[in-house]
Symmetry: C2
Subunit: 251 residues, 2 copies
């Protein structure tokens, strides 16, 4: 009986988001894999779950390993679990995927299992989202899950993310978009407080539109119930100083 029970490897895959205030761009962390499979391919940061470690603790350890950051307060939420057998080529592995929203853009250090670690700028291109770092570009897909996994074995190449990470990234973007109007946790990448303009910047990218296409007055009226005023104002650019807001704690 025990033999037919499979005990596959449990991989924690983490999509780590942050925000670059200097360029007002959303960033996603990718690492270059040091080992096979997919050696030298870019991938979402992963780690194996260890004994006596919860998924949350594994996520925390992953962040510490990959970017040398020990956060006291940060937000991680479960995305989904990916179990399709075609997602790995050799030994079977399930992926428990999480998303982490870092309140700042930390400098990176490539940790165990990676020869490089970089922030990729998150944007959009026609109908898909895109991660860019200099000449490197990775796009999300418009395929369905069935379509994607069917074609996956044939699409192995250096231009693609490792494993099914393109699909995981696609699901992540869709989830964030869906939650923008009622639980915009993605705004946590703006840190403790933010201006309405910064919030609109993020909304604009996920909605594949421009900042100016989102009217500030209307945005305030429709989303203010999600925010709390954070009193003081900042002063970084020309024009009238903006008020600061912070995310209203949910529930």
């Amino acid at each position: 009986m025990a033999n037919i029970l499979e005990r596959p490897l449990i991989t924690i895959t983490n999509i780590i988001w942050s925000f670059d205030r200097a360029t007002q761009q959303i960033q996603v962390l990718l690492v270059k894999r040091a080992h096979a499979p997919f050696k030298d391919s870019w991938a979402l940061p992963e780690t194996f779950m260890r004994a006596n470690e919860s998924a949350d603790e594994a996520t925390l350890r992953l962040i510490k390993e990959k970017i040398g950051l020990t956060l006291t307060e940060f937000h991680t939420e479960q995305l989904a679990t990916f179990t399709d057998r075609r997602r790995t080529t050799d030994e079977r592995a399930l992926s428990l995927a999480y998303m982490t929203f870092l309140p700042e853009m930390s400098p990176l250090q490539a940790g165990y299992g990676a020869t490089d670690a970089r922030w990729f700028t998150f944007g959009f291109l026609k109908k898909t989202y895109q991660l860019s770092n200099q000449q490197l570009h990775f796009q999300t897909t418009n395929a369905t899950a069935d379509q994607y996994y069917q074609k996956l074995p044939a699409t192995k190449s250096a231009e693609q993310l490792a494993f099914d990470h393109q699909w995981i990234l696609t699901v992540a973007c869709q989830r964030i978009l869906n939650k923008l109007d009622y639980q915009p946790n993605i705004l946590m990448i703006l840190g403790a407080s933010f201006t309405l303009r910064e919030a609109r910047t993020i909304y604009a990218i996920f909605r594949k539109t421009t900042l100016n296409a989102i009217d500030n007055s209307n945005f305030k009226k429709t989303h203010q119930h999600l925010f709390l005023e954070a009193g003081t104002t900042s002063q970084l650019r020309v024009g009238r100083p903006a008020r600061l807001y912070r995310l209203k704690p949910q529930n």
Copy 2:
């Protein structure tokens, strides 16, 4: 290195929903466990994932084992993955939780690992939902995940569902409620086609209100975009025969 990697058991937990047209009640399947741990406790149907079996295939096998039903067409969707170490008492096990919406209420047969299998009527009681079968009652919780798992080790009793199934059920109800207005897959338990009254019956229960509190005229206007007319009318009760609708295929 390999030794520190944990390979916990992978449990597939399935919340199986159906609808009893005779009594117009929502039903959830529970089984009585044949083996330790939680021997003789009621629980959500579970199975271990086997080698060379995807989570979807395991779900299909579980339905076949528990209720002897081989469906060609049915809908299963992922709920979440539960990894808290406190969820099991002995060996650690992750739970990949899925929801299945059966298009009919099948007769049951207790399969392997269960001494009994019954449909429980789904209703609500004050602030919680409740599963009832004669003198048996199981409620959802209003605690947070942290609160729930902290108290879990102390709450083992025959009056409670096994493991953290109370929490899994709570998350499931919340998910269905959240999706009622944009992707009401729960309506699949009504079968291929349904009347607006039947749809309102389901909405009423999840919203913890009464059927008559949901105005038929307004319900049609606000939710018609989710449905397609299924032409003919049924004739089962007094009054004007109702039109039939079916769920609009998503995307």
